[in-house]
Amino acid sequence: MSVDEDDSEMDFSEDDCGYEDYYNTAEDCDVEQIDLYKTDPEYFAFECLNVEQVERLLNESVEMLSNNLQITPSLAKMLLHNHEWGCLTITAEYRRDAGRLLVTSCVKPPVPPDTSNSSSSVGMRISCPVCVSSILWDKFSSLCCGHSFCNMCWAMHFEVQITAGISTGISCMAKGCEVLAPEDFVLTLLTKPQLRDKYQQFAFKDYVKSHPQLRFCPGPNCQVVLRSKEPKAKRAICSYCKTMFCFRCGGDYHAPTDCNTIRKWLTKCADDSETANYISAHTKDCPRCHICIEKNGGCNHMQCYNCKHDFCWMCLGDWKCHGSEYYECSRYKENPNIANESAHAQAREALKKYLHYYERWENHCKSLRLEEQTLTKIKSRINIKVMNSSGTWIDWQYLMDAAALLAKCRYTLQYTYPYAYYMEPGPRKELFEYQQAQLEAEIENLSWKIERAESTDRGELENQIDIAEKRRTTLLKDFLEV
């Protein structure tokens, strides 16, 4: 690296708001990260922050901008909140046309205030336009727009706004004036401690929500804020409450499906819940002896307790034709001639197609829950085994690992169905469905074996785990686009 390059880098880092500094700037770390991105399609760098850490982070930006532009911290905070905390953009914009920036950010009025009759003398009383009481002139305040109101009225205005959940968006009381009240202005005039707390809580929420690198953990009652340098649709896990979610949309993690598609899918499922209800049955009849069978595990590979027939829960077909080479159950066979059919037939076909994907989506979701119960059963089974000196805790650990991996694979598999539903037919869809079928076969195999594991012979199961995880990552590598 030449000396010049070094210099230019220095220049750059002086101007940015410490964002780079905040992250590990050491080069070897970057290299490591790039490698992780290559090998793990789900790799995502993020950190979990508590409220104090977030406040420190925000204040760093505020200080930096306030120093850069020689403006008050309060003003800097308003600008940052209005411009997604982009220090560099604000600095550039400010240097180009400060007046315009301040007006469009509702920091200053479009027309400067008229100060011609602002002469005041000690003991002078003025009438407040809001409460129409005559009050000592020094009990008045105004924002930079010059609209002057008595302090009592300001405080009442803030109270009403804060009670309505508004904080950073509180504007001047004058008719049609859009100038925003900065934090220090509000806090100076707001006297009730309870309201001050509320204001600060609401403002904090607004600041985090306006910051592209920050996300509130969606976990119930969790205060953690997650931060990532690249706010993508990737898997984030709260280190505190363990909630797993998509960093971009905040919903349940949904790879390989993207944020828009999953939203579309979930809306569709909610709208069509009536139609789909009939399939959510927990029982089906054995296709051979017609005895009623209840599904009580996650595995789709069913064995009739009466006639011992092995069949598939999803399609009720013989399980023999569900081997990994010819696993067809996940694929929907579209009618190639559908364009020429009647509107009625097309509608029926559309519903059939939706139900095919919905059934599988819903089934994996249920299986995940059932397998959680299985896990509890496995744990108590291991307990008994260890107590009877059949292996040690360590010997049995592999089974727990296998169950955890099974859940991870099934989760991804669940989210492959909305993805496939919206895919255009063609070679790419064929490849996707091929990989999906492979994963499907591997997972049902694994689920069957975990439910029945009786020995500490881990070889075969560990092999199976390996294959399943490889199939999962291959699918994500090929189809996860973020």
Binding site: V130, C131, V132, H147, C153, M156, M173
Partner: protein
């Protein structure tokens, strides 16, 4: 009941002393925050000749919060729904404590002169107002005659 704020007293006095042309607003005998309002249908509007009754209530935190206003007389208007609720920006997010009862009533009068079907509250009325203004105006006149005249 708490003492009436000076602001409300002042506004009431002025409304009674210099009423807005075409509008009468009288406080209720029992509740000084409740006003009986009558708005005359503006000239050259489909509401001409009609007298429209409204109720106006000043909430506890007035003037920090907007007054609550509602048409009592039935009216065929794209920004007023069947319950008499009014779609007017200054009654919602554009409210400012510096605005007054007087300004609100003037804005309502102006809304009668210039209905705005692009910001509708009564969807069916707004729809007709957009696709067939002639028929919509005929309906508005008919409603005015039926509900807002000699009663």
């Amino acid at each position: 009941m708490a003492a009436l704020p000076r602001r409300i007293i002042k506004e009431t006095q002025r409304l009674l002393q210099e009423p807005v042309p075409g509008i009468s607003a009288v406080p209720d005998d029992a509740n000084a925050r409740y006003f009986h309002v009558i708005v005359t249908g503006p000239e050259d509007s489909p509401f001409e000749g009609g007298l429209f009754k409204l109720e106006l209530f000043l909430p506890e935190d007035y003037p920090m919060s907007a007054p609550k206003v509602r048409f009592i007389t039935k009216i065929y208007h794209p920004n007023i729904d069947r319950l008499g609720r009014i779609c007017l920006d200054i009654l919602k997010d554009k409210w400012s404590p510096a605005l007054q009862i007087r300004t609100v009533l003037l804005s309502i009068q102006a809304l009668l002169s210039a209905p705005n079907p692009d910001d509708p509250l009564a969807n069916d009325v707004a729809e007709l107002w957009k696709v067939n203004e002639v028929e919509a105006i005929r309906n508005a006149k008919e409603w005015t005659r039926r509900y807002a005249m000699d009663n």
